[in-house]
Symmetry: D2
Subunit: 331 residues, 4 copies
Amino acid sequence: MNSFGRIFRVHIFGESHGESVGMVIDGCPAGLALSAEDLLPDLERRKGGKQKGTTPRQEADYPFFKSGLFNGKTTGAPITILFENNNTRSGDYEKQRSFPRPGHADWVAHQKYGGNEDFRGGGHFSARLTTGLVAAGAIAKKLMSAVNIQAAVTEIGGETDLEKGLQKAIDAKDSVGGIVTCTVDGLPVGLGEPFFDSVESQIAHIAFAIPAVKGIEFGSGFAAATMYGSQHNDAIIDNTGKTATNHAGGIVGGITNGNQLVYRLAIKPTASTPKEQFSLNWETGQQENFSIKGRHDLCVALRAPVIVEAATAVALIDLMLLHQQIKPVVG
Amino acid sequence: MNSFGRIFRVHIFGESHGESVGMVIDGCPAGLALSAEDLLPDLERRKGGKQKGTTPRQEADYPFFKSGLFNGKTTGAPITILFENNNTRSGDYEKQRSFPRPGHADWVAHQKYGGNEDFRGGGHFSARLTTGLVAAGAIAKKLMSAVNIQAAVTEIGGETDLEKGLQKAIDAKDSVGGIVTCTVDGLPVGLGEPFFDSVESQIAHIAFAIPAVKGIEFGSGFAAATMYGSQHNDAIIDNTGKTATNHAGGIVGGITNGNQLVYRLAIKPTASTPKEQFSLNWETGQQENFSIKGRHDLCVALRAPVIVEAATAVALIDLMLLHQQIKPVVG
Amino acid sequence: MNSFGRIFRVHIFGESHGESVGMVIDGCPAGLALSAEDLLPDLERRKGGKQKGTTPRQEADYPFFKSGLFNGKTTGAPITILFENNNTRSGDYEKQRSFPRPGHADWVAHQKYGGNEDFRGGGHFSARLTTGLVAAGAIAKKLMSAVNIQAAVTEIGGETDLEKGLQKAIDAKDSVGGIVTCTVDGLPVGLGEPFFDSVESQIAHIAFAIPAVKGIEFGSGFAAATMYGSQHNDAIIDNTGKTATNHAGGIVGGITNGNQLVYRLAIKPTASTPKEQFSLNWETGQQENFSIKGRHDLCVALRAPVIVEAATAVALIDLMLLHQQIKPVVG
Amino acid sequence: MNSFGRIFRVHIFGESHGESVGMVIDGCPAGLALSAEDLLPDLERRKGGKQKGTTPRQEADYPFFKSGLFNGKTTGAPITILFENNNTRSGDYEKQRSFPRPGHADWVAHQKYGGNEDFRGGGHFSARLTTGLVAAGAIAKKLMSAVNIQAAVTEIGGETDLEKGLQKAIDAKDSVGGIVTCTVDGLPVGLGEPFFDSVESQIAHIAFAIPAVKGIEFGSGFAAATMYGSQHNDAIIDNTGKTATNHAGGIVGGITNGNQLVYRLAIKPTASTPKEQFSLNWETGQQENFSIKGRHDLCVALRAPVIVEAATAVALIDLMLLHQQIKPVVG
């Protein structure tokens, strides 16, 4: 389903080259001062075309509120936001229709929806759908003023010197993957549930909703698999739960422990590489060389941080509401 | 919540040293031939005490069916299974009560539940709760006879020679982490949804419900972050969707593509290391040295594979039912 | 939450005098031929101003598809439909702001949302929100071509001669209540679950989402409370499950039995009566006489049938999908 | 699904003549003092055999806690309660197997579950399943000490003199229906949501999970359909929301308004009438006379009040938790 959350429930909809993309939030507390201006900074960060390595396609990405606001505040009723699609060049994609693009959802979508899918620009599978998620995240962040969520690209193409990683891709005329690291400060102790609704489960669930994410690790993550228990265990040093180290990434037994929440995401290289590829032409049934036209990001990881923050905020606000850390009427 | 799944819904309950642990499955199709014997092999695999590096605590782990079976078949009504707890030594834990064990949920549970938690042996947070999950997984596997789920430990303490990794831990008198790799063959194309209910989202959600899991990666996973697009993209080679490589791990756009589903889990070292530790004594409010008594696994990753298979099976059976790949009445 | 359904999930949003009202459907099968024309007949039925006793307010009620359609068919992605609000006279309502209207949600909304609610014309509580539900119902009906859902007003003001009942209200210069009866033919045997997800539970749940509904009864309903078992029991007369009578209204043990599903709804009189009323002025804190201005229905039951059909269709399509009576790709 | 609730989630399971019946509650706050003794009074009320018109079958109905309690308090982990079945006479039912009993689920269960259902004594459809619901209700009631829920039989066989109504049935050697009225005092203003999660929707949903319920009405209910608006509207008389009348039954716009919540349920006559019936013999495919053996209630409405209270309590506690009227750790 295209929704996430138990109390603060986010629904996203739309297609890359259809009428619009957007979202509905159900369960947002009443009384939060909110306007398009609150969303624009994060929406701006999500947009490409500003930095080296991102697509020159620039949607206006202006959030039109269609419901849920009154006198500049949330009403407690569902909030609907629409983004119009107005800078699309579908023609680019029509020509490629005979090649289900490797690394893209073209082929699986065709099978799953019996050929009824909107294939233009990835349709409903497009990363453009994250516009709605970013808007939801901005609202969630504003509700949690004491919580500070920060995501950043920490590696590109295996390089921590990001400029260098990007240059490698430019030189190779290829797209490239990267790592995004997210930290959260200011969380209360006790969010999450043992087992199925652990904080890791919730965050991983929504993180894998972000296109191109192929891995997630909390705290020491995969490195923990190489450690001894005496190294990995975080000694508790006082009655606030502060630990001497933070290999657990702020979550123990699925529950926040009051230390910084830290996780890292593996972002695969943009599937739409400028390089010529060899793959199936489903009209001829043969493998052929082809290349992808259109405007694309060289490294999607570059645009991911604000989406990662949004996903994290959406997961956490729901846990905050479940644990009664935020009231149904705020402000 | 202690439940997972939309149609095939699994609830787990119990405490390590309470009356019992167990589970209820709602939504299991009617007509599946089922008995305790079907569950025993996987339950046996989950048990410790058989192999080097696992705890000598051996519960009988016999599954008592309390509802949902009639004449040796599932009825379509909820299936309840209870496991009795009968080999517990709570005394071991009482003595340690003043130290919230590092790497365990003792401290967060105390905060979250206001001191009402059953703290004996980790209580509800104990890995003993996975007994119910393993039983549910065995049922899910039996429902999907054409699907083959296999998990195995592929690294211990950073060593792919497992014997060597374990010996390092024994020599160090410490616990150690590991990697579990899970593969699934025989899945249909088209399971999963774009975004929030991607197959990765569903599997990651339940995988992080397994105690000690701190990371997950699909296909090339974190290595993808270092790759070029032309390397990572899996060329489709025929109209069945078969790909030349499988860096995506069988999932594209959140949807199964008919290739082998592959993922890896990072398992942290057992929190209960035999080594002496320095941590908070919450009675004195001071940091002190202490050591953990009781019977524990040197490497929990060793017992994880069958749990990982179960979690995978539970996630997949739900998607199979949602996509009408399995009928409400089987057999 | 403003959503209903487990697989075919309908979300409604909007306010009477805000930007728009609308809905999102998640989980609609792909491949259904669909256009605004398919929705217009039911939307037309919902509109007032055509028949004696309904409000002269006439919105255009044209459904703008914002997502989920491509080449005239559903894609399997969420369907978003917006209705613009363009014939509103908020001024009428501003004047009445000091009186929380009896029988309306004004007072509870004010308490629940801390004064942040959009109060104009009932805001989010307005029956105008049912526009989205009617659109969802029209889609659900089209998916279930073999199922025939019919609702009609069968009583007004206690009179089965509807003209007479309405005339009573006109003569009394008052609003009046009524009864709507809904029948469903062509349902398969076996929909619904014992207990919490009985067909009665599902239909009653959504029926009480319709404004002004205050009672529901299936089959003989309240009359059953006065009957003997030998009278009420429906004798099964053949192996298709056909019964000699249908006191059960087509549902036994919460499950459809293949006979006609029948239920009746009690619709209270329109709260906005033309009559002067005596109630609280919350600015003065005193009870005062006041009268309600604006355009209103004399008998809301008159506009209810198409909404009742829609609610029924939405509840049933979800059960049909759960029971695999409809495929994920249709047509 | 056999579960209800979003935060306080109740799952019921079991069969009339199987191993056991029982329930799991997920989401119960920690810290509530609780023991079997707290449940016994309501369980005792549910049992038959004490009053004229109820079945002489008397299960011990002792609640065995299998999880979720520690040191006499709830822990915050799932609470599992089992009731053993030990006073069953399956033989009675085997003989009737060839007649799917009219008014019972025998025939629909057979169709739905492909003949795999446990048919003995109604199996999973038996009213014995309400034992778990009554236990859940007793816990919910204890959590809401300021809320007073009272249900009572107010009509039998159309008579408000209950003794007279019951005598009619005894004289007619037939079973008979009745009305149960439920009132709730002490609720806060603001529970419930507009539309799909109205308080009426929630209560009706769970009320129709009670076997034999065929109708529900809130406040004036069906009588409202015969009233004028000026009669039905409840004038608000002060700033606490108190109304001069209570035709709305304490719910306006789907939201509690602080006045007494009142609703009535229509209970059909016990399907198992002592009278000889004429119905299908599915072995011969012919209609034949047959009579039902076994111990049954003459009027199931007599045992319903405690179940109705439980259902109401379960619906309301969930809304109370959603609206943060009860904390995650109590006591």
